[in-house]
Assembly symmetry: C2
Homo-oligomer: 221 residues x 2
């Protein structure tokens, strides 16, 4: 059996990753491919607890280095429990965030730098890289606006805790956004950046095109 495809979705909070994963999954299923969908942090029982810890207000004092190590702890578990077994079984994996997020948020946003995150990736994840990364990158001002709106809604529903990452300063999100662009330029073979102020349909269309162009999945519309 041939190994499955590992596809990651990346982007700032509010960039529409969740919506696009649902659309993409539906599109794949119509073509006979049932993807394994997962997310980081979370996606395993241990990962959900790590996610809670990362988002919980009690952890507001988490050191950036702690945050990064926990992200990789979560990732190690997701790889062992979900991603590797699925890929080995020939399944397509759609993963909401992977190491690019850690590089963008902790490496860029928290200013730990790319080198440290990439070394951690090498140690913890070995050679595992996505076959394709879809980076949703609306203009920065739109991203900030959506992140703020999302934060308000989350805070309304769950109290202020869940909104931790979203409540960071604009300067933080600017660094994340810029790091994502840097990753896309550097790893242009792997990363397709979908930029601009696009509708949900337009983004979906570009995702399908990216898969088709790279022959990740036969584009049989």
């Amino acid at each position: 059996m041939s190994r499955g495809l590992f596809i990651t979705l990346e982007g700032l909070d509010g960039s529409g990753k969740t919506t696009q994963i649902k659309r993409l999954s539906g599109w794949m299923q119509k073509r006979g491919v049932v993807p394994v969908i997962t997310r980081q942090p979370g996606g395993t029982a241990a990962g959900d607890r790590i996610r809670e810890l990362l988002l919980d207000s009690r952890s507001v004092g988490l050191a950036p280095m702690t945050e990064m190590a926990l992200m990789f702890g979560d990732r190690a578990q997701a790889i062992a429990e979900v991603i590797e077994p699925a890929l080995a079984a020939g399944d397509t994996v759609l993963c909401d965030r992977f190491t690019d997020s850690t590089e963008a948020y902790q490496g860029g946003g928290r200013e730990l730098g790319s080198e440290l995150v990439l070394e951690m990736h090498r140690l913890i994840c070995g050679g595992l890289q996505p076959d394709l990364t879809l980076l949703l990158l609306p203009p920065l001002d739109k991203s900030l606006e959506r992140a703020r709106r999302r934060n308000d809604r989350v805070a309304e529903k769950n109290g202020p805790n869940e909104g931790r990452f979203e409540s960071e300063q604009d300067a933080f999100f600017r660094r994340v956004w810029e790091k994502y662009r840097e990753i896309a330029r550097r790893d242009s073979e792997r990363v397709v950046a979908i930029e601009g102020d696009l509708s949900i349909d337009d983004v979906h269309e570009q995702i399908v095109e990216a898969l088709s162009e790279r022959r990740v999945i036969a584009h049989s519309r």
Copy 2:
């Protein structure tokens, strides 16, 4: 102000670290030094939650790599929140377990190897090394017996969850024990191994001698 001393206690579960830390702390206080006492995992609010996750039965399925990353997440937080501020303020820090434990348990016991753990240490902890490590290493058969007894008591009190690490097979503990000896041989400048089937008083005496010989603290009995 001169930087404080960083002293770690190491050894298998049941080797008497907790008892000896209390004795050593009392001995220091009589000499006018009030040490900052901490432990790993745990010792911070976030660390206590990481510790719970590591010990909780729900995490029995934790991948060794996850375990190691979480240990370093805990360590990063302890360094940022407790250890570095104390050392910078000139305080002596007594820490129950540090990277040697991760090397012995995850590197040796879980067979991830020393190199990976030491690279993680370099990335996460930077240049921080203990000034002195006191390794309590009773004979292997005694260590196993004590670990089993302790496991039974913990399981009686808290249910089987807390006893997770203690319930591992003897072969696991043998690998941990052997890795500790290897560390002591390799880092003989830093690590004082206190071996043999000694009484609590005898171990305390050897600890005090080790501190005195290395002039870590003036030995003014």
